[in-house]
């Protein structure tokens, strides 16, 4: 790990005594932690437990990459933060909290997006990266940057009740590297094909479980204790309480020669919302109150409709094309979802497949309606 080896102070020895007395771990393991540098990308659901446990365990230098601020919908799972932190920088708030937990460590904050431009510069000073990001472009970027820079990538990902963990690009004793994320998933699913967490949600405790396993693997990689999850993918289903470990093989066809445009790689072009006709919630309100003839369609899921609705006709995005006969071509049709992303996808699909030209996306979705028109509609 780091070249300059620091020893443990008497205070640190007392603090870490429950580590030091584990025979396989000992003083040597604790010193390796103290002299290690771990970069945690994302301080949200996964990042919260990872950071708390790595800080508590005595990782000497932790980097935190997060450009985001704390939102009240984060608090269901992002246990680093409290209501007092709403609106504050996640990375700065995390740093403050972690230094209260363990003043013997050093924390570097990167309050910026992790991009192809800054990735290699940021990770160069770290030994291990913990990927706690929340989208495909950044997942591929983290993986590729780790491969190019020769860093271990401790990976975890979550969706609803399901979690995945693996250790990628691990330097093995024979000098070769273990499989990486692209060996497992050479290319991402096209946008919209696999639902994301904003559509599907995530059980709040799940990132606690999966993030703790991720922290465990980081500690194993640093200390050399145990058998890290290399060449294996751990799967956990919290709903059925089933766990599985699947084999991951290196793929000789995987080639990573430089960082690329990951938005483009993942098929995420310009904001689809800007490519469809839009209507504001105020204009929709006028339509409703002035008796204008129009059709309102809600493309969210039934359970979201139950949370709150504005009397739209429920046609979830997944069945929008097969429901096209129900959609008028003779009058304005306003389509909405939670925030405007899925409804834009629905409009593109209907326009491209059936030639509709009378579809309008409700700008900001039901969230904007809740904020600007009717606060009794819950935002979620």
């Amino acid at each position: 790990m780091s070249n300059s080896i620091s020893q443990l102070s008497p205070e640190e020895l007392a603090r870490y005594s429950r580590h030091v007395i584990i025979p396989e771990f000992g003083l040597e393991g604790q010193l390796k932690l103290k002299n290690s540098n771990v970069l945690v990308i994302g301080s949200g659901g996964l990042g919260s437990p990872v950071l708390l446990y790595l800080a508590a365990a005595g990782v000497g230098h932790i980097g935190i990459v997060d450009f985001d601020t704390v939102d009240d919908s984060n608090l269901q799972r992002q246990v680093l933060f409290t209501v007092d932190d709403l609106g504050a920088s996640k990375a700065e708030t995390a740093k403050e909290r972690l230094l209260k937990l363990n003043p013997h460590i050093r924390i570097t904050v990167f309050k910026e997006r992790f991009t192809s431009e800054n990735a290699l510069e940021i990770i160069k000073d770290f030994d291990v990266v913990a990927d706690g990001t929340d989208n495909f472009p950044t997942r591929y970027l983290v993986n590729d940057a780790c491969v190019l820079a020769g860093k271990v990538n401790v990976y975890a990902s979550i969706f609803r009740f399901e979690g995945q963990v693996s250790v990628f690009n691990y330097l093995k004793e024979d000098g070769t590297r273990g499989p990486n994320y692209r060996d497992m998933f050479p290319e991402p699913p096209p946008p919209g094909l696999v639902p994301n967490c904003s559509e599907g949600g995530v059980l709040g405790v799940l990132p606690g479980i999966i993030g703790s396993l991720q922290a465990n693997e980081v500690i194993k990689v640093i200390t050399g204790v145990g058998d890290p999850l290399v060449g294996r993918l751990f799967l956990f289903d919290a709903a059925s309480f089933t766990t599985r470990i699947l084999k991951v093989h290196s793929n000789p066809e995987t080639k990573i020669e430089g960082l690329i445009d990951y938005e483009q790689f993942c098929g995420i072009g310009p904001d689809p919302k800007s490519e469809v006709k839009e209507i504001t919630v105020q204009e929709l309100y006028d339509f409703k109150t002035k008796g204008i003839d129009f059709q309102l369609i809600d493309v969210r899921e039934p359970h979201e409709f139950q949370i709150g609705n504005i009397e739209g006709e429920l046609i979830p995005l997944g069945v929008i094309s097969e429901s096209a006969p129900k959609i008028s071509k003779d009058k304005p049709v306003i389509i909405h979802c939670r925030s405007g992303v899925r409804s834009a996808k629905a409009i593109r699909e209907l326009e491209d497949t059936f030639g509709f030209d009378n579809l309008y996306n409700l700008k900001g979705g039901i969230l904007a309606w809740s904020k600007e028109i009717d606060t009794s509609i819950p935002s979620y």
């Binding site: 969706f159 399901e162 290319e187 699913p189 094909l193 995530v202 289903d237 599985r244």
Partner: protein, 92 residues
């Protein structure tokens, strides 16, 4: 009948079933049988030519079918087939 384990993101297409019994001699038969049973699932699993999409990993037991005979891998009545999709986390 072999059993296919359905991952969370795809259960909306299988009436929330987490396991589906499936017929056939090979992995390809089993996946196509699944796609026939649940039409909405088809475009998520198979491309226009009926081949398994590259962003979906299919396992027989704990082994990647790409390390076996790919979609020609033979299955048995007690086979457990897993579909493992890429999942990314919480952001749009």
């Amino acid at each position: 009948m072999a059993t296919i384990l359905i991952p969370t993101p795809l259960r909306k297409f299988t009436e929330n079933n987490s396991k589906v019994e499936t017929g056939g001699i090979t992995i390809k038969d089993a996946i196509q049988d699944l796609a026939t049973k649940y039409a909405g699932l088809s475009k998520h699993l198979l491309d226009e030519n009926g081949n398994i999409r590259s962003f979906i990993r299919v396992y027989l037991g704990d082994e990647d079918i790409n390390a076996l005979e790919k979609d020609a891998t033979v299955i048995y009545n007690d086979s457990i087939i897993s579909i493992v999709p890429a999942i990314a986390g919480g952001s749009i």
